[in-house]
Amino acid sequence: MKDFNYHSAKDSKEASKLASSSSAFLAGGMTTIPSMKLGLATYKDLIDIKNIKKLSGIKVSGKSVTIGAATKHVEVSNSKDVKKAIPSLSSLAEGIGDPQVRNRGTIGGSIANNDPSADYPSACIALNATIHTNERKIEAAKFFKGMFETALKKGELIEAIEFQIPEKSSYQKHPNPASRYAIVGVYVAKHKGDVNVAVTGAKSCVYNDKEMSKALSGNFSSSSIDGMDLDSSEMNADMHASAEFRASLVVTQAKKAVDAC
């Protein structure tokens, strides 16, 4: 791994002051460190934000669950409050990576990285999340811009993610048989007015499937999306799954999610 300077920031202010065009924030490091080891990413400065107390913790109010950016997956999956308010969010966290990744990886790191197969971005879209940064609030629908790309500006730090508590919700994924990441993951959430069907793994970036959302908003039953023929032209294709298979998996997982709601 190439050399860099490690800094541990005391607070958000110090963290953003240290940030430059050749720096990265370090939370759990579950993606940052492997990417740097493989030479896929190089930074002059790594700014550790784990020790900023304000960034960790879970708060539940009547309408929302707010999770600090440096909160670990294991803390989300073990939280009684999250389990009660949004059980699907707790089970999503329980299914990320392996126990060692969950002991270290953070929610803020996951969404800042915006891996096309990451689980958390789908929760943000499905649960109408608001991303709180040190500068502003960003709606999830405007946050995820493309493959590994977000609306975050250089030096902008995610502080917390606020999820809207839905009436019903479920996250279902078809994991890669070896690595267990989501080949396709679908997060269905039924809110008062409408239904969100957030899809991860299928395209270059997480998205809300409008066609299925519309069908399920009319009739919240898996029969209303049964056999739906989704356009596969923009879907990912690799040795694990063709675009057509992914399109079919999206419907299958969405149906499973609706049935599990």
Partner: protein, 168 residues
């Protein structure tokens, strides 16, 4: 726990930081460059070579150690990043020359063949039993998802973890 502050010093023209850890109950202080991985620090700076490097891409789990009581892949953490923590490696499991019940169970039930993955398997399994005293077969298999063994086919590993659960 109060994390030690990160102090930089210049040694032989290289900027190094001072790492203070408690490793297997012993306080250690060593200089290391900022890009030193925890696995490298343990193996090369402390000569604790029981922690293995298998894949070096966070998949195989041969490098699992405990940091402040939780299992972690030491090839995916910086030494600087865990500064001030308590670390337990495979070398820290025995007491007075007597193997840990998990090590005994792996030996008794042939939970290993070549043994390369075993330190990580054992450290991961010990963490499981800290959190779940009587895990089912499925729970053991789920927990060991991040530990790859290419010899045993896992059957005897699962049996060993179950055996250890009766002894711990």
């Amino acid at each position: 726990m109060i994390k030690s502050s990160w102090v930089k010093i210049l040694i032989k023209g290289e900027i190094m930081g001072k790492i203070s850890l408690e490793v297997n109950g012993r306080k250690v202080e060593k200089e290391a460059s900022d890009n030193t991985l925890l696995s490298t620090f343990l193996r090369e700076h402390l000569q604790l070579t029981g922690t293995h490097i298998g894949c070096d891409t966070s998949q195989c789990g041969a490098c699992v150690v405990h940091v402040d009581g939780n299992s972690l892949k030491s090839c995916t953490a910086l030494a600087a990043d865990v500064n001030g923590s308590k670390i337990t490696t495979i070398e820290g499991l025995e007491t007075n020359g007597k193997m840990h019940p998990m090590q005994e169970a792996f030996k008794k039930l042939h939970g290993l063949q070549c043994g390369f993955c075993t330190p990580g398997m054992v450290m991961s399994a010990v963490d499981l039993l800290q959190k779940n005293k009587k895990p089912s077969d499925t729970e053991i298999r789920d927990w060991l998802e991040g530990n790859i063994c290419r010899c045993t086919g896992y059957q005897n590993i699962v049996a060993a973890v179950k055996e250890a659960a009766t002894k711990m």
